[in-house]
Amino acid sequence: MSAPKLSLREIGKRYQIGSNTEIEAIHRVSFEVMENEICVLLGPSGCGKSTVLRMVAGLEEPSSGAMTLDGRQIEGPGRDRGMVFQAYTSFDWLTVQQNVEYGMRLQHVPAPERARRAQHFLNLVHLSKFAQAYPKQLSGGMKQRVAIARTLANDPEMLLMDEPFGALDAETRWHMQELMISIAEETQTTILMVTHDIEEAIYTADRIVFLSRHPGTVAANIVPAFKLGKRWRRKEEVLELDGYAELERDIMKLMRQQATDEVQAVA
């Protein structure tokens, strides 16, 4: 087996609250993401899954542990780990095409090459017709597709996604999930995505890392074997597979257990 693309070893994150109180948000989180894998970080709200993702992105610093990408230590944010956020991040002063070209402009890629790559990735997310539009003219789903194209056009080693479809309506959401799978297939991109949506996790993931909370730590590392090691272009096909319902139920129980802990902690 090849070496992992991304590796987290005993990552911890503590926050200082007040002068002498510290809380441990993340406790010894370890997992690996393989090349070309879609790995989904799933867990109840407040488990710190977004914090883990932000640490991988280099936007936050772990208090302990080690993280490597392709064997190299992660030091800070970098273009090898492009991120798509839940909030819309299309730069409103740039057209769709200029948005997609943005990362390449930072890298001083020559204009013709930039335009060519932007066209390619706009095609991939079905937005070629909107290349000259401004973000204010786009719907939420389209804005997220711009963000995905912009990140991929920058040729990252990994695509990080923080609840990318969380703000979208249900229908747009599953279209986007299917689009994400076909893009992952076509571009051979390694993806680490955060979600709290169990269905989304099971449908899209090659591997699910389930985090429990207080402090956030890995409670389960699940490979949904019932998907037979392949990716399914249509969501309903996965929902129909033997084993889907069982996995969904198991994960719900994990979530519920967390919720009960929470209720007990309050009571």
Binding site: P77, R79, G82, T89, F91, D92, W93, R105, L106, A147
Partner: protein, 274 residues
């Protein structure tokens, strides 16, 4: 199938909570108070309720204004006032915009400058007039200095606040696309805050006009404010009022120019954010 005519139409009332009204009604309502104001004013003068010397009629003010606008002296006064605004405002912007953006971007600069700037903001600019007169004499110096002081500290704060409002996700997106500090400043923060910098300028322009009149009334030989003080000496109330009208109209034109500029420069900004 036959449709019945509607049941009883709903009763129409004038005051409906947040219900939209037609454009025609909006215009009629907007104009009517102004019309009433002028009619009552005119009637009060005609009926002799007020002394015409102290309170000339609106028609009289308008005819005086028309007369004034055809004299080179008055046009020079208007020119002098506008030049003062332009020069002092430009100087204030040159200082405030880069400093405000820098303070809104780097916490270290905010911590260093803001306590200083905040204190100056609470000192009324006109209170500096006596010392400004002592330092700069009676030329253009004290006027420009007053206008500059009156605008610059507020403009710095406004620009800083707008810069801090630039969304963190924009900055972080650029970071994960490989942007370095310089690139993030110039390709994210500056373009993101620019529309609001123009909004801040528009807001401060109104303040600038206020200080202009104060400066010219206190110590000046030319400008619209000086003209009004001269007119007072000869009891030319109509000229004073004509001056007020001119200042009001110029202020309004300035505001409209900035709005137009905003639309022209930033067509991509959501209408609700203007």
């Amino acid at each position: 199938m036959q449709y019945q005519s509607p049941l009883t139409p709903r009763a129409k009332r004038w005051l409906e909570i947040r219900k939209p009204i037609s454009r025609r009604t909006t215009i009629i309502l907007g104009v009517s108070l102004w019309a009433a104001f002028f009619i009552i004013w005119e009637a009060a003068v005609k009926a002799g309720f007020v002394t015409e010397l102290l309170m000339p009629s609106p028609t009289r003010v308008l005819s005086t204004l028309a007369g004034l606008l055809s004299t080179p002296d008055f046009l020079m006064d208007i020119g002098a006032s506008m030049l003062r605004i332009a020069i002092s405002f430009l100087m204030a912007c040159i200082v405030a915009v880069p400093l405000g953006i820098a303070m809104g971007t780097f916490r270290v600069l905010e911590a260093f400058f803001n306590p200083f700037m905040a204190a100056w903001r609470y000192l009324p600019a006109p209170s500096f007039i006596p010392v400004l007169l002592m330092w700069f004499g009676t030329g253009e110096g004290p006027k420009l200095a007053l206008l500059f002081i009156g605008v610059v500290f507020f403009l710095i704060t406004l620009v800083m606040d707008y810069t801090k409002q630039v969304r963190q996700e924009f900055v972080e997106t650029s970071m994960t696309l490989g942007g370095n500090r310089k690139q993030i400043l110039w390709t994210v923060i500056v373009p993101a805050v620019l529309p609001n910098v123009v909004v801040a300028m528009r807001q401060m322009m109104a303040v600038s006009w206020t200080y202009l009149v104060i400066a010219e009334i206190v110590a000046s030989t030319n400008g619209i404010g000086a003209m009004m003080m001269r007119a007072r000496r000869f009891l030319h109330t109509d000229e004073i009022m004509a001056g007020i009208v001119v200042i009001g109209v110029l202020g309004l034109l300035c505001d409209m120019a900035f709005r137009w500029l905003h639309r022209l420069m930033f067509p991509y900004v959501e209408e609700s954010a203007r």
